[in-house]
Symmetry: none
Subunit: 188 residues, 4 copies
């Protein structure tokens, strides 16, 4: 049945896009992405009919991977502080360890090419995080705020912290701990 569309190639394109977008921004030529993926420029378009389509898929993939990493090893312990700390630590360490994915995601997050549907799906991907956060706030001071708002605040804190962890690797763990404490004061 002819050559089947190769999952490897698709992944290679997404991986290449991550690298190229991280370093050149969203203006990066599709041709550069293709060649970085070891694929002809025409082939890129058999996997993603449009640059915007590629961007949307990449957005979802990265958002999903981030959420998965953050939730990786969160035991449903009896108290709530421990799981949230585990989440926070894993999240930030994933981001620090994947600077290109993080940069690419940052570019994508502000792009006009990302459709509302993709943004919605991106939020779904973070549902697990949201749930844990919800448990954490309990009946605390943020209990009446929309969960999406609280989640966004946490997200903003995480992003900012990662910036400083990368900038100043000597104190990365300090920053991580300090910001978690700040978060905890905020929500609990």
């Amino acid at each position: 049945m002819a050559r089947p569309k190769s999952e490897d190639k698709r992944s290679a394109i997404l991986a290449a896009a991550t690298r190229v977008i991280a370093s050149q921004g969203l203006g990066a030529p599709t041709a550069t992405i293709a060649s970085e993926a070891g694929v002809s420029n025409g082939s890129l378009f058999t996997y993603f009919p449009t640059k915007a389509d590629l961007l949307n898929h990449l957005y979802l993939e990265l958002k999903g991977e981030m959420a998965t990493a953050a939730l990786g090893d969160v035991s449903a312990a009896s108290n709530v502080r421990e799981p949230l700390l585990a989440l926070w630590t894993q999240w930030l360490h994933w981001a620090v360890a994947s600077p290109e994915k993080r940069r690419a995601l940052a570019h994508l997050a502000v792009s006009d090419d990302i459709t509302p549907a993709s943004r919605e799906a991106g939020h779904q991907a973070m549902a697990g995080i949201a749930k844990l956060l919800d448990r954490s706030r309990g009946g605390g001071p943020l209990c009446d705020a929309p969960l999406g708002f609280v989640l966004a605040l946490m997200n903003a804190l995480a992003d900012t912290t990662v910036d400083f962890m990368i900038q100043d690797p000597g104190h990365a763990e300090d920053h991580c701990r300090v910001s978690f404490d700040a978060l905890w004061r905020m929500v609990s």
Copy 2:
């Protein structure tokens, strides 16, 4: 080397850039900005030799205006909570009232065209805010973190809150108050 003739034209270009970038993003053609400013294509380049140069100046102007607005009416009262609250309120309301400036600034903040020097100058513009924040944290839990880090965390909180105030104008004041309380718990 004399300063270009019309200060008015320079301002018109910056104002037009704000509007155009807010609606079309950083990819907006210089020709569009020029015509929105009522100036010819070529004239734009006598005021700003380069598109990147225009972007950097706009970044600084907007950042400066934001800081000025935030610090507008902050009396050096005896306690520290009041001034910080005033700062917060003014900051967020300026942002809500100036959606184009805010959007443009958001685009600029992630642009690769903004030089490190501009970013540094942008931080300087926020020195007044930083000072107040420094007083606010006093010897509290964040007293050992770099001030820049704490400032960045506050900035992230502010930005996120404004998003929700604009999205959900009916509860704008709630969001503003809730996030200030969260900030206060974080820093004090």
Copy 3:
């Protein structure tokens, strides 16, 4: 070298090409033609090694069908006017009834991809028509002109008439009759 397996598929491709070219012109992608024919992209090229080749075959097929239709029921009556009228009527009605074939043929007729050999073969296909026309002009005013020239003039008249018959179906029969009379005055 054996003939390709399925004569059906060959026909399907030609039929699909007729439809697609009629609506999209000669720029129509081969992939579109293939899929309209229910055949894969690649298969098209086992039946026609080249797009140009497909075009040439289609040209001949349509030209042949047109000639056949025109000559369909032309009894070799004693006088010459009757057969020519029958020819004219059948020709024009075939064209009106097969608008896609006609449109496709019109596109093909002006294409640079049609080889001189195909054009020549196309003329051969019209030999029957030419013969009848030759009888019709007899020793009349056009008796000294090259037969090909006279044939081309008739062809041009036919084409133009069909345009108006399609455009203005209410008077199709009028146009058909009027133009035949004009032709008759021209040749006899």
Copy 4:
């Protein structure tokens, strides 16, 4: 007031388009047209915002020139045959002498890029010809047919004749005369 848009350059582009389209068809790259005109590819688009726009303007220019040439020296003589013959002769000789313009016009006439408005304007350009033709048919056999139909028939005859005049230059004048007589029989 800056460099004014040069009428020369505009003409050069149209002339180049005529030549290039005559030899390569409508698929001719705009870049080829621009370079043939001695202009940068970008400049072409300051004169014609779109390839389709260029095509439409060229269509009108060529149609107009053709009509002007045909009507060039048609004295309003007392009888009607003389003026029509003059028209016919001038028309055909213009076409024979301007093979590139003729070929380009033939390509344009069947293009989907030519708008209905342009076609309408093209017909207007032939109003003078139509008027003369109308006088010529008088109360003759074609007096009840739509004038547009009769005009189209004449047009078709002219085109076909020119083909043969070019193909067989030795008998060009014969063909011209023969076809005029045929036309005259048709209309009068």
